[in-house]
């Protein structure tokens, strides 16, 4: 178990190094950084001075080593656009995205799992209705769903705010939506918009896996032993469907956080996605490369958590002791 975790951490380290190399190349080779920092009137000498000061004349490996070193120390440089330190910029936006991601994950699980179990066990009108509705949800692009929700609940009915985070409370550096009513209201529409894809996926995956598990011999045997249906479905069958479902949910969670860009832009949600979008618009390369590294880090961490979840769920993995 311990050796497994250590091995995974080492592998993650390599992944992070590879991503940081890409981020570094982005920083260094997409255009001349100096040309983008300075105005038209800056003299060639001044440009050379800046170049020297920023170490851009050093050999590539030295620059890369410095870049990785700075990343490790949490010094991410300065944004070209706002001249703020990148880490401040990111930290101010991170909570918004994480909270939005958490809410949409919660929505997708709390609806998707029961709906998946239900549609696997029961046929009939409700089951078909769920399958068709979610299919519609997954086929329509996210921004259309967002606009539709804004129109219905924001404009026509006027129940919910259509943009921004509403009132937030500052907990240290973490700015949270969870402590005010208006914050919660602001979370609902973007949360649904972002979660609907994941919801459909979770539901269909749980349904397919559940149907597969119900065909297995151990479920037949448990039925033949007269185990009550409740325990049969929720204890015996559902646990077995979880193993593959967790993998996908984990990967999707990474996806939610990384690709919340569209939703954030539709709802003007001041999260990292919006920040990234603005950075692209102004070619703000330091922010972009840090964003890249950060998203990779989130993916790697989620994968590690998923692997650990296997240990908790599946005794076969546990007893192999990570020998493989």
């Amino acid at each position: 178990m311990l050796s497994f975790i250590i091995r995974r951490l080492l592998q993650s380290l390599f992944v992070m190094l590879a991503v940081s190399l890409i981020a570094f190349s982005l920083f260094r080779f997409v255009g001349d950084p100096i040309a983008q920092m300075v105005g038209q009137e800056t003299s060639i000498e001044d440009q050379e001075n800046i170049r020297e000061r920023l170490g851009l004349n050093d050999p590539m490996p030295t620059q890369y080593a410095r870049f990785v070193g700075n990343l490790a120390k949490g010094e991410f440089g300065f944004s070209y656009r706002t001249r703020q330190p990148v880490n401040e910029l990111i930290l101010s936006r991170l909570p918004a995205t994480l909270e939005l991601g958490a809410v949409s994950l919660f929505i997708s699980l709390i609806v998707g799992i029961p709906a998946g179990i239900y549609t696997a066990l029961k046929r009939g009108f409700l089951s078909n209705a769920l399958l068709v509705t979610t299919l519609v949800g997954i086929s329509i692009p996210t921004f259309v769903i967002g606009i539709f929700l804004i129109y219905t609940f924001g404009v026509a009915l006027g129940w919910l705010p259509t943009f921004g985070r509403g009132e937030t409370v500052q907990l240290g550096w973490w700015q949270t939506n969870f402590l005010t009513l208006s914050g919660w209201k602001a979370l609902i529409l973007p949360g649904i918009t972002l979660g609907v894809y994941q919801l459909t996926l979770t539901m269909r995956l749980v349904r397919a896996e559940m149907q597969e598990v119900l065909k297995t011999d151990y479920i037949k045997f448990a039925t033949a032993r007269g185990i009550n249906y409740r325990s049969l479905y929720l204890h015996h069958a559902f646990r077995n469907t979880l193993v593959p479902v967790i993998t996908i949910i984990g990967l999707q969670l990474g996806g939610i956080i990384a690709f919340s860009i569209v939703t954030e832009s539709v709802f003007q949600w001041p999260g990292m996605g919006l920040l990234f979008l603005d950075s692209i618009r102004y070619v703000d390369i330091p922010v972009m490369s840090v964003y890249l590294v950060l998203i990779a880090l989130i993916f790697v961490m989620i994968n590690l958590i998923v692997d650990l979840a296997y240990f908790a769920i599946d005794p076969r993995v546990r007893h192999r002791g990570g020998d493989d």
Partner: protein
């Protein structure tokens, strides 16, 4: 004895697109308490459907069309599912075929036992636990107090089947349906499990319906037997009478098709299928015939194919270790030694039988010879030349053509996306045996006829054929490469006895006509006896004994061989 279970005139139907399929056609069956009633038949006979009907667990959309299932005086047909479900496990229990899959992998043995007991009896968890421990100890699991909190994967196949039996017994049912309870087990384990079932049946006065395709198992275990075919009862009565002096033709033929351990037959009697259609020969390729195939296959025979004392294949000091190269990061991985120090000579034109229990390394040996696994030590010589191992053997190495293989499972060894024609034509094209498309077509048709298939089969896809027919196609595919050496890895173990008999006959014929050398791998000693000239016994990757077949079966020299022989269910009366 009054009947515990009495099935009267039971009809089970499955609605299909083409009308109702009658799975059980007026079945009658009586099982008394304390009796083991064998239910025997080939696949599709409806054996398992009887079991499912009694449990009320017929696969949808099947349903009981008419008839009665009377259990302890109560008719179960038409009982609502809630009432039925209370009966399941409580009074009627079931044992499944494959212990690898019939236990929930994520729950401990204790959890599964205790839940089952408490489902039906009002006892505390700790009482249930003690009951479970006592019962599992009775089924012969050692050290159960420590092991009860283990998970299923930590037990071996035989031990798991004991757990399954423990689970079936833990609520003291009156009737147990055992559906192929030993089919997935090795003979030595099978013997112990059957003995356990018998003991429990006698001691607890439980009625048992033992469903199996293995007549040897019925013969050694059941008190009475019912022979089923296509959903109908063919014959029923005391085991000794039905199997010893069968009255019906089908039973006689079935008995004759079972490979005998005690004597070698030249050919098996073929069972004429009830509904075997007349071979459809309306579609033919011009000039194609079985004799053309024979001629073509014999036309380029190399010198020295007569049986002689010169070995065709010599395997010397062969070792195969898996995962040895890739030491793990923390360096504990020593690898698994699948074969060690194997020495085998295979003479020209000889059939060499390889016997062993599962995990003994039989299939690894076959794979090593065809070059599918790397060797860690030793060498192989084929026709006097070194045979490169594993990936060192070139794709166009001459041995690739002359060594061909027939695999165990005909359902996965043929590509379902290709027609039979392109499956069989592939070796002809690949080895460049013919470049003339007309001739290739003629060859494919001829070879199909040679293996007893209609020529028309070449137009179809593998999924349109039964297991036996697929295995014929697989043999045809191996044959068109003009092999000198055929490796058959359990070629009949996925097939019914009557089909097995046909395939074994086919292999014998081909072996005689073409003087093929065959390495015949099987776990079934009786099949080996029918096929092999010499026998090699493998245990845990090592050769235990090599001797002539007749000598081996009359007087095996090693204890392990004797044990294997004595534990194989036989048909001696």
């Amino acid at each position: 004895m009054s009947a515990l279970l009495s099935i009267e005139n039971l009809y089970v139907n499955f609605p299909t697109r083409f009308g109702e399929f009658v799975a059980l056609d007026g079945v009658n069956l009586n099982v008394a308490a304390g009796e083991i009633h064998g239910l025997v038949g080939e696949s599709g006979a409806g054996k398992s459907t009887v079991g499912a009907a009694v449990m009320g667990l017929l696969q949808s959309p099947g349903y009981v069309a008419s008839g009665k299932i009377v259990f302890a005086g109560e008719n179960l047909v038409g009982l609502n599912n809630d009432a039925y479900h209370r009966l399941r496990g409580d009074r009627i229990s079931m044992i499944f075929q494959d212990p690898q899959t019939s236990l929930n992998p994520l729950l401990t043995i204790a959890t599964q036992m205790i839940e089952t007991i408490r489902q039906h009896r009002h006892v505390s968890a700790s009482d249930a636990r003690n009951q479970a421990i006592a019962l599992l100890a009775e089924t012969g699991i050692n050290d159960i107090e420590k092991r009860i909190d283990d998970y299923p994967h930590q037990f071996s196949g035989g031990m798991r089947q004991r757990v399954v039996i423990g689970l079936a017994l833990c609520t003291e049912p009156e009737l147990i349906i055992a559906d192929e309870p030993t089919t997935a087990l090795d003979v030595s384990v099978q013997k112990q499990i059957l003995k356990l079932i018998r003991t429990l049946c006698r001691e607890r006065n439980i009625g048992i319906v033992l469903i199996t395709h293995d007549i040897g198992v019925i013969n050694e275990t059941a008190d009475r037997v019912t022979v089923l075919r296509s959903g109908r009862v063919i014959e029923s009565g005391n085991t000794k009478d039905v199997l010893g002096k069968p009255k019906q033709t089908y039973t006689k033929e079935l008995m004759a098709a079972v490979p005998r351990l005690d004597k070698r037959l030249d050919r098996f009697k073929n069972i004429v299928g009830e509904d075997d259609k007349v071979i459809d020969d309306s579609w033919k390729v011009p000039l194609a015939s079985a004799s053309f195939a024979t001629q073509w296959l014999l036309s380029e025979k190399n010198e020295g194919n007569e049986r002689n004392s010169h070995p065709l294949l010599t395997v010397s000091n062969l070792d195969v270790t898996f995962n040895s190269g890739q030491a793990s990061w923390f360096g504990k991985n020593k690898g698994f030694k699948a074969l060690s120090n194997i020495n085998i000579d295979l003479m020209n034109g000889e059939v060499l039988g390889v016997v062993g229990e599962s995990g003994s390394g039989k299939s690894t040996l076959a794979k090593a010879i065809v070059g599918l696994v790397p060797l860690s030590a030793g060498s192989m010589e084929f026709k006097g030349k070194m045979l490169p191992a594993g990936k060192h053997r070139d794709r166009h190495h001459p041995s690739r053509r002359v060594i061909q293989m027939v695999f165990q499972d005909p359902y996965s060894s043929l590509n379902n996306r290709k027609t039979v024609e392109s499956i069989i034509a592939e070796p002809i094209r690949f080895y460049g045996l013919s470049h003339d498309e007309v001739e290739i077509k003629k060859l494919v048709a001829s070879v199909l006829e040679l293996v007893g298939m209609p020529q028309r089969a070449m137009l179809k896809y593998p999924h349109q054929f039964s297991g036996g027919q697929r295995q014929r196609i697989a043999v045809a595919r191996a044959l068109v490469a003009r092999p000198e050496f055929l490796i058959c890895d359990e070629p009949t173990s996925a097939l019914d006895v009557s089909i097995q008999a046909q395939i074994l006959n086919l292999l014998k014929d081909l072996q005689q006509t073409f003087g093929l050398s065959i390495l015949f791998i099987s776990h079934n000693l009786a099949v080996i006896r029918q096929m092999a000239d010499r026998v090699v016994v493998i245990k845990n990757g090592e050769v235990v004994e090599t001797s002539n077949t007749e000598q081996f079966f009359s007087a095996p020299s090693k204890t392990y061989s004797q044990m294997l022989l004595s534990e194989t269910p036989s048909l001696v009366f």
